[in-house]
Symmetry: C2
Subunit: 425 residues, 2 copies
Amino acid sequence: MGAYGEMIFTGDELLRGDALNTNQAFLGEKLLDLGVFANRALCITDDLQAIAGAIKESLEREPLVLILSGGLGPTDDDLTREAVAEGLDLPLEFHPELLEEIRHRFVSRGYVMGDSNRKQALLPHGATVIPISGTAPGFILHHGRTLVAALPGVPWELQEMWDATVEPSLRKHVDSLGVGGHVVRRIRTFGIGESAVADLLKEFDWRGSLVEIGTRAKLDGLWVILRATNSPESSAALESTQSRIVELLGERVLGVDCEGLPEMVGSLLRGAGLTLSVAESCTGGLLGKRVTEVPGSSDYFVGGVISYDNMAKTRILGVRDDLIAQQGAVSADVAEAMARGVASLLATDCALSVTGVAGPGGGTEEKPVGLVYIGCAIRGVVEVERLRLFGRREQIRERASLSALDLLRRKLARYRLEQGIVLGQ
Amino acid sequence: MGAYGEMIFTGDELLRGDALNTNQAFLGEKLLDLGVFANRALCITDDLQAIAGAIKESLEREPLVLILSGGLGPTDDDLTREAVAEGLDLPLEFHPELLEEIRHRFVSRGYVMGDSNRKQALLPHGATVIPISGTAPGFILHHGRTLVAALPGVPWELQEMWDATVEPSLRKHVDSLGVGGHVVRRIRTFGIGESAVADLLKEFDWRGSLVEIGTRAKLDGLWVILRATNSPESSAALESTQSRIVELLGERVLGVDCEGLPEMVGSLLRGAGLTLSVAESCTGGLLGKRVTEVPGSSDYFVGGVISYDNMAKTRILGVRDDLIAQQGAVSADVAEAMARGVASLLATDCALSVTGVAGPGGGTEEKPVGLVYIGCAIRGVVEVERLRLFGRREQIRERASLSALDLLRRKLARYRLEQGIVLGQ
C-alpha cells in the first residue's frame, strides 16, 4: 500500500554469525501491522562514518520510518547517538535528568554506575527519549517525513520499547501522513498448503480493491492476511471476507489474530479442565518441550515418556511386543498403544503420541523417512493420523510435534462442542 | 586483518518477519574462517533497480567478496541474474547445457520442467556456473578485486554450494590477493564466562602480533578464536598458544574445531559403549530433544521421562514422596533420585536429570527463578550440580539442557581416563 520503511542494525555479532537477527523479523512483522513494508534492512559494522553514511542515504530515500537497533550502550563501540547526530547534522545535547534515571537503575540493582554511562545521556537535538526498559535509553526524532527511532539491540528491551512507545508514535505518524487507518487481520491456519488455500480463495479475486488478501508461510503454519483501509465500506467488506474465508477453510483455521498452537491447546485444556501427557518416539522430547514452553503449562501438563527405544515403549508404556513385531514401531497401532499407555500411566484425560522415521537414516521403501503417525486420546477415545512429511530431520521433527498439537486442538474443539463447554468463563 | 566482504540478501520473507536470516549467520561465520569480515549485510526487496543499485554501490567499495543470496528461482520475483548483469553492465547469456541439467533434475524426480525455468539457464557474461544442489543454479564471477558469488536462498542449497564450490574458490582468491594463508582455530568451551576467560588469558597480551586471540559468545558456549598467518613462525606460535590456552581452561574446553555438545556426548557414549536415559522436569523434553537431534542417537539413547508434575516423579521414577515433601521438587536430592530412577527404569549405564524453576512464575526467595539442579549418573555413581541461571524462560531451559549435557561430557571424559578407553577405534 505504498508505505515504506527501512531498518539499520549495528552489532558485529550479527555479521560474524554469533547471533541471528531476531530483531529484524520482529520489526518487519510489526511494521507490516501498521501497513508499512520494510524494503531494506542493513546490518553494518560499528564504524561511525559508515553508520552515519547509511543513515544519510536512507533518509534521502525518504522512508516513512527508519528504525535503528543496537549501539546505545556505554562502550566505545556504541555509536548510534553520534551517527544519528552526524547523519542528520544535529548537535548532541546532554540530558542530566536522563543520567539520573540511568544512575537510579544501577543503584536499584545494587550496582554503581560507571563514568562511561554518561554518554548514554546524550541525545541528538530535538530527540525525545524513549523510557528505559533495560539499561540503554532509546530515542525518537522526526526528520522530514521520516520518523527515526533508535532502539537497543537486546531483543526484549527492543520489544518492550516498541510496544510501549514506538508503535503508538509510528501509528500517529502514519495517520498524520494520511497513509494510515490501516486494519490487518491474520487468519492462522495449520495443515493446509499455500496452493490449496489459493484454490479455496479463488472467488475473492474480484474484491482486490477493498480488501487485500495475502498468504504467508510461517514456521508454524500458513497465515491468511487481510488488509483494508479504515473506512466504513472497507470495514464491512473486511468482516464479510473474513467470515467467508474462515468458513471456507473450516477446521484448518486456528483463529483470527490468535495465539500459537502450544498456547491455544493450553487454553483449550485449561478451559475444559482436562490434563495432558505425551509419549514421543522420533520427536525425542520436542513435543513435550513445545507444550511446556507456555508459562503455566503445569496447570494441565502432567508429564510424558520419551520412548525412543522399543524397550521404553514396552517397559514403560506397556506397548505389546507382538504389536511392534507385527506392525513395526512406526505404525498406527503402536501410535494408538503409546497414547493409551501414557494416558493410563499418568492418569491424564488426554494424551498425544508420535512415532515416525525422522531420518536421515532408518527409512525403507515401505516406511520412508518422513512417515509419522500421531495419536491423540481424549478420555479413552483414540484417533491416529498418518503424516507424510518432507524436509530434513529437524523439520520433520518440528512438523510432527506441531501436527500432534494441531490434532489435539481439532479434537478438543469438537469435544468442547459435544460437551457444551464455553471457554473464557 | 583488513579483508572485508559484503552480503546482499533478497527475499521479502526476510523483511516481513516470516523467516530468520540464517544464511547471514552461516556465511558470516564461514567468511571469518577465511579471514574475511563481512562488514555489511543488506536485505532488500525484490526490485530490479534497487538490487542492481545495491550491487553497484557494493562493488564501488571494492570488497574482497560479495555474496548474493536468493532470487535464483524461475519466478518473476527472481531477479538476481538480471540485477548482476545490470549492476556490472554485462550481457546475459543463455547456456543450453545448463537448461538440460535443470530439465534432467525435474525428470529424475518425476516432474516436467516448465517454460519459466528457462531463465535459470541465463548467466551474466563471464560467470561460471556453480553445480546445482537443489533446483536453482548459482554462479561465480570476478569483478576487479571482488569475487561475486550468487547463491540460492534455501539454506541447505546455499550451504552445499558454499562447501563444494564457493569456499575453495574464495580461498584461492584470498590467497591470490596475498591476504590469505590464514589459519583459524576455535577452542570451544562451556560453563565459563567471557570475563573469566579474559582474566585467565591475560598473559597472552604481548603476543598480539603473531597470533590474534578473540572470544565469541555463541548460543552454546564461549569460543576462543585464534588466528594467525600461515608462516612457519606463526604456526609454531599458534600451536603453543593453543596448547597453553587449552591447559589454562582445563575441563571447560570441549575441544578444538570440534562438534557441539550433543554430538560430542554422543561420540563419547558410543566410544565407551554406554547407554543414556534422561529425566526432565523444568526442561519438559528439551534435553531429550537435544540428545536426539543427532542422527544415529538411537545407538546410545534409550529414552526418558518428562516428570513435569510431582506425580510423574513418584509414579514413574520412584522418587519418594517424603523426599519431595521435605526437600522440595527443586532440590539436589530429587535431582539425584530422578537420575537413579530413570537409569534403573530403562536399564541404562548413564542418566541425566534436570529439575528447576524456569519461570516466569513459581519462584520464591529460597528457590528463585533460574535455580536448577542437574544430576548425572554413570553406573550408579551420581553427581549433582546446582546452577543459578539468568534470563527468560526459554534461555533458562536451553542453558539447563546444555549444562546437563556438559556435566555428562566432563564425567565421561574422567570415566574414560579411569577405564583406559581410547576413542576413535
